[in-house]
Amino acid sequence: MAKSRTIEYLNERLGMDQWIAFAKKKTVPAHRHSFWYYWGGISMLGFLVQVVTGVLLLIYYKPGPEAYESVRQITYDIHFGWLIRSAHNWSANLFIFAVFVHMFSVYFMKAYKKPREFGWWSGMLLLFIGLMFGFSGYLLPMDDLAFFATKVGLEIPNSVPVVGPTIANLLRGGLEVTELTVQRFFALHAVVLPLLFIPLLMFHLYLVQQHGNALPPSEEEVPVEKRKTIPFFPNFLAKDLAMWLIALNAIALMSSMFPWQLGTQADPLAPAPKGIHPEWYFMSSFQVLKVMGNLFPGVAGEVIGMGIFTLGLILWFFIPFYDTQKASGRRGRLAHYFGLFALGIIVLTTAWGFLAVS
């Protein structure tokens, strides 16, 4: 009795009934490829865990000269600091992984076609910002691995013709990676990137709401009256939440069984540690650059490697302009093969990269 009166009180003032009615009317397609619909949601859970654990780390982390010492304290002195830090790292990895799965499933379901082009483009930008989060966050502990990863990573903007060195120096805050770099990477990581990411994510979600879930080509062929759907509320939401729970468990399991390590403090005069390699999500580009460097020694290798990458990214980004037909014609098939090719290259070069450093 008391409960329903409270609900009634809130409802009259906040109009929650409209939202629930709306959510009940909204439907999500149900078919044998439905599994891929959950990966956007898993990405978002990864991001939310990032926000929560990030704010918690902010409570003890000190950018600048004390960066390493503060992360050492978080990892070894503060109760459960190791867990919070590991959860931040593992959820970052889950986030990037889920975003990749989400992107490829969108690609192969051809969900970038009209009217969902802006969903594709905003998603690509979100992925780019996500990778920037990864790159800037990686430096913050200021251990040897962080130091060299940043040193090497900044060679990429540095190789951009004409303006490259200026951009790299601005990002670095000098000619070498120092505590000044940590300070500005921290500003990027904790303020600038979230300010860019969150509105873009809102836009992305608004578009999903606006256009609904896309159907894969195989499902498009099914006559409208034979297509199956499930209500968004509560059915799809319940499944979505179940996925979130699985993802949350995975993060907890990985964080407690494989806590993230802290290396020795960065020393600008020490040599790079043996077997140093980038995180898995940068491994593919690392390996391509390495292979190109071997095939074409000197500056040429880097230029060719970067050139191939840039070209691939441009094609990938603008695919909605190329593959426009509703029915899957010749262009549709080509786009499909291009997707398979890109996926194959990424998987192969990543595996190759790990075999080469192990």
């Binding site: 009940k24 009317k25 439907t27 149900a30 918690l56 409570i59 002195d77 503060i78 109760h79 459960f80 600091g81 867990l83 919070i84 409208v224 009256e225 297509r227 199956k228 759907t229 499930i230 209500p231 509560p234 059915n235 319940a238 907890a252």
Partner: protein
């Protein structure tokens, strides 16, 4: 519930066998109650599993400070030379504290945190009293007794032992 066309509702509860509904006096089936209990329990377990580490994480400096505050004794090197009629401030655990060398040669050490709203008090040499600038509290400089203004309680007094080259202050 769902009036939309093309909508096939997949029930969350997939048991298709006829359910024996045993209603209690409020008309809620036992199965429903058990389900609610299980879901509530799982939610509670998750909240605890996430909440406990977060609480301990946030509470870490508090625990550290508490162990510092638990200190029983402080040795003040060279404090035995404190001139008569003057006072010095020292740190006892996490609190500021006062060591006063009175005109009659006696020594007194007290907690310097006002019992009213926590401001740090000072020794007034002219009045020979301890005063608090925040809200005008006044304490006796020998016993710590609250003698004027808003403070509700006296200042805690510590035991003092003066030796050659040092003064030892002990929590009574």
């Amino acid at each position: 519930m769902s009036d939309a066309v093309n909508t096939e509702t997949i029930p969350l509860n997939v048991n298709t066998e006829p359910v024996e509904v045993e209603n209690d006096e409020h008309g809620v089936s036992r199965r429903e109650l058990v389900m609610k209990g299980v879901i509530g329990g799982v939610c509670l377990a998750y909240t605890a599993a996430v909440g406990y580490p977060v609480y301990r994480y946030l509470n870490s400096p508090v625990e550290k400070a508490a162990s510092v505050a638990a200190v029983k004794e402080v040795t003040l090197d060279g404090a035995d030379t404190l001139p008569i009629g003057t006072a010095m401030v020292f740190k006892f655990g996490t609190h500021p504290a006062l060591l006063i060398h009175h005109d009659d040669g006696s020594w007194v050490a007290l907690d310097a945190v006002c019992t009213h709203l926590g401001c740090t008090v000072q020794y007034d040499k002219g009045q020979k009293k301890i005063t608090c600038a925040c809200h005008g509290g006044v304490f006796d400089a020998k016993t710590g007794k609250n003698i004027a203004g808003p403070p509700p309680k006296p200042l805690p007094v510590y035991a003092v032992k003066v030796e050659k080259g040092k003064v030892q202050v002990t929590r009574a």
